[in-house]
């Protein structure tokens, strides 16, 4: 029996870069289409791909495009290491390898008939954007939708133009805040968690989706729980070192979970015992 009969999950598919967009000084978005136009790809909001830069390496990056726009894919990422640094040098027309989609997804279906709170910190808005597209595609199925977005400075905000469009076009409450601002900023200043106590949603019928630095997510959860949102209806997106994305390499373990297959989207009730535990 030869290996050819079983699909090899470690083989990337070539994708060509259609556009590179600089979002902030250290964050950029790649817009991609498969080399082979017959290649079928679909994903759920919250899932990620492993992106391969020729000869350099592979990194896990959440998909941040509209799931209904496939085969077009968008990946927003920050330059943090060798691979992302090399990725930033790529231009329109260059090719990268993609494996995926992997992981669990935001429970958009479960939010039907409820208020939805989306809390994003920094680049955490990128993995949440596909969920926002889905929610807006069927706006009438949800009650109040509140987006709380916090960044370090106003210059670090992602998708500002799109946020303005959404604010205007859909019944979507958007509140943004920054950790620090120059005197020209006339909006909220303070950590994003401070917006939870007064945000307009009914805790008894709310589903929350949170993404951002782990500390931000932990304290956001705390504020939501304080207001009475059920632990099983609070979802976070976790992150760990990944070398394969498919449950073979062991690197992404977080307690008993593999972030690549039991996550990255986790219900808070599921990971509460290990969240915040030192060096787990």
């Amino acid at each position: 029996m030869t290996a050819g009969l079983v699909p090899d999950p470690m083989l990337p598919t070539p994708y060509r870069i259609q556009r590179v967009r600089q979002e902030t000084d250290d964050t950029f978005t790649l817009e991609l289409l498969p080399e082979d136009s017959s290649h079928r790809f679909s994903f759920e909001p919250g899932q990620f791909n492993m992106l391969y830069v020729f000869g350099v390496g592979e990194v896990p990056i959440s998909i941040s495009s509209d799931p209904d726009d496939v085969p077009l894919l968008k990946h927003t990422t920050r330059v943090v290491g060798t691979v992302t640094k090399a990725m930033r040098q790529l231009k329109r027309g260059d090719t990268i390898g993609i494996r995926g989609p992997y992981g669990t997804h935001w429970p958009v279906q479960e939010a039907v008939g409820r208020d939805v709170v989306i809390a994003a910190g920094g680049i955490g808005l990128a993995p949440l954007r596909p969920a926002l597209y889905r929610l807006m595609a069927e706006r009438e199925r949800y009650h109040k939708i509140v987006l709380l977005y916090g960044t370090r400075t106003p210059e670090d905000m992602l998708y500002r133009h799109e946020l303005e469009q959404w604010r205007g076009k859909f019944d979507l409450e958007i509140q943004v805040t920054v950790d620090r601002a120059a005197s020209s900023w006339r909006g909220n200043v303070g950590v994003v968690t401070t917006m939870i106590p007064r945000a307009p949603f009914d805790p008894s019928n709310t589903l929350a989706m949170i993404c951002g630095p782990e500390v931000m997510m932990r304290f956001t959860v705390m504020e939501l729980v304080k207001r009475g949102v059920a632990a099983e209806r609070i979802y976070l997106s976790g992150e760990r070192n990944m070398k394969c994305g498919i449950g073979f390499c062991g690197h992404c373990q977080f307690g008993p979970t593999f972030v690549c297959k039991d996550g990255p989207v986790f219900a808070y009730s599921h990971i509460a015992p290990i969240l915040g535990k030192s060096e787990v």
């Binding site: 943090v80 805040t177 401070t194």
Partner: protein, 154 residues
């Protein structure tokens, strides 16, 4: 006589659980105020003899830093309480406060309330309990700010 601001206080989460007689007392020390965008509410160093409940609008807590200009540390919006320096000596403001947007607020005569708390320790307990809560929440969010959690990796 029922002060027109009593129902507003009774409805506000900050005063939840307070006895009617205390609410009346506090209402007696309160009044509506309005600020235009850019108005100074108080300066660093001013005597701290009031506190405010923002009804609608946005207020910023700012520091004057010579080479950086006015630096906003935090903002308070609808329903939030501004100011606890009136409770603790030396009863002076430690920062500037400015209205970022047209703002309606309730202003409370802190000097008067301080006296009333000294006379009625039950009232004092209720007031200090609530402000203690605010101070701890602010301390917590300040700690998160200190973490600079979105900060650069390097």
């Amino acid at each position: 006589m029922i002060h027109t601001l009593e129902p507003i206080l009774r409805d506000h989460p900050f005063f939840q659980g307070m006895e009617d007689r205390h609410i009346q007392l506090i209402a007696g020390c309160s009044m509506n105020v309005r600020f235009n965008a850019g108005d100074v509410i108080f300066h660093e160093g001013d005597p701290a003899d009031q506190f405010y409940l923002v009804r609608e609008g946005l207020v910023s807590v700012q520091f004057v830093i010579p080479n950086r200009g006015l630096t906003t540390i935090t903002t308070y919006g609808n329903g939030e309480v501004l100011g606890w320096s009136w409770l603790f000596p030396p009863y002076r403001w430690h920062f500037d406060a400015r209205a970022q947007q047209p703002t309606h607020a309730l202003a409370f005569d802190g000097k008067c309330l301080r006296g009333k708390c000294d006379e009625d320790h039950d009232l004092g307990y209720e007031i200090y309990k609530r402000f203690m809560q605010i101070v701890t929440e602010r301390l917590e969010s300040t700690r998160l700010l200190l973490l600079d959690m979105y900060g650069n990796i390097r």
